[in-house]
């Protein structure tokens, strides 16, 4: 996996190869039953509540932590090109999908690139268009870790990882 940032750290580019044809990776990314099996990192569990994969549609899901805490997120699809790319605007929200105004939106672009019949390459771009986005995210999680003491850092970082869900 390769991860690079632009100099101002507003955009992250992640690329990763998978030993599967692009059709399968696309399915794993767009079929909620499969997506829920891998989207949440570590011990977190992902549950999709709504998936309407089309322009103007949205994906509503939550991640549940080992302590039972839930974080709700939604992605509003901006463009879908079959087995080519998905663009959406990611928000934090409540269980009904009502967008939280406290968090700035994050632009996601996922590109599906066939390498050969058995391999594909995925390129994810995460853009925090508003420079304040990163600041808020960081202040909500990462920096608190330092002020609260290192013993809480893992917990905070775990929460912060979810912020990038």
């Amino acid at each position: 996996m390769n991860i690079v940032t632009d100099p101002s750290q507003k955009t992250l580019h992640i690329t990763r190869d998978f030993k599967a044809p692009v059709e399968k990776v696309w399915k794993a990314w767009t079929d909620p039953k499969i997506l829920d099996q891998w989207w949440a990192p570590g011990p977190w569990k992902n549950t999709t509540l709504h998936m309407d994969l089309r322009e103007g549609g949205y994906w509503l899901y939550y991640m549940e932590g080992p302590g039972g805490e839930k974080h709700y997120c939604r992605g509003d699809f901006e463009s879908i090109l079959l087995m080519d790319s998905i663009k959406y605007l990611g928000h934090f929200c409540d269980e009904h999908g009502k967008i939280s105004p406290d968090f700035p939106a994050i632009h996601w672009t996922i590109r599906f690139l066939p390498k050969d019949e058995h391999t594909s390459s995925i390129a994810v771009t995460i853009n925090m268009a508003d420079p304040a986005s990163l600041q808020i995210l960081v202040e909500r999680g990462f920096k608190e870790g330092f002020t609260m003491g290192l013993e809480n850092l893992d917990r905070v970082l775990a929460t912060r990882e979810v912020l990038f869900a």
Binding site: M1, S8, R16, F18, K19, K24, V25, A28, K143, F164
Partner: protein, 101 residues
């Protein structure tokens, strides 16, 4: 408003200042010579950088020196590292899922 390291690096001039100071401490005059802008403009960037603690001021006799604070920059590395781990984790799971698909 609270300042943080992400604000420090959000601006190209500030990144250039950090690049220069990473090589060695500099006086305000020496630093300003590197930029095609007023001393005042440079010093306002310095002010942001010191508020973010990316740069600290030290007096040496009558001269002030700007010093680079590397520990602050490690926050960025740590942040990126956590981000990397999040995606590695996620994609390792996807590998497993794809095997059974």
């Amino acid at each position: 408003m609270r300042r943080d390291i992400f604000q420090a690096i959000a601006d190209p001039t500030r990144r250039a200042i950090l690049g220069l100071l990473a090589v060695g401490a500099m006086t305000p005059n020496a630093l300003a010579e590197h930029f095609q802008m007023t001393r005042q403009a440079v010093s306002s960037h310095i002010q942001v950088l010191t508020e973010c603690e990316a740069v600290r001021l030290e007096k040496n006799g009558r001269e002030i020196y700007y010093h680079f604070n590397p520990s602050k920059m490690q926050e960025l590395d740590l942040w990126l590292e956590r981000f990397r781990k999040l995606f590695e984790d996620r994609f390792d799971k996807l590998d497993t899922v794809l095997k059974d698909l």
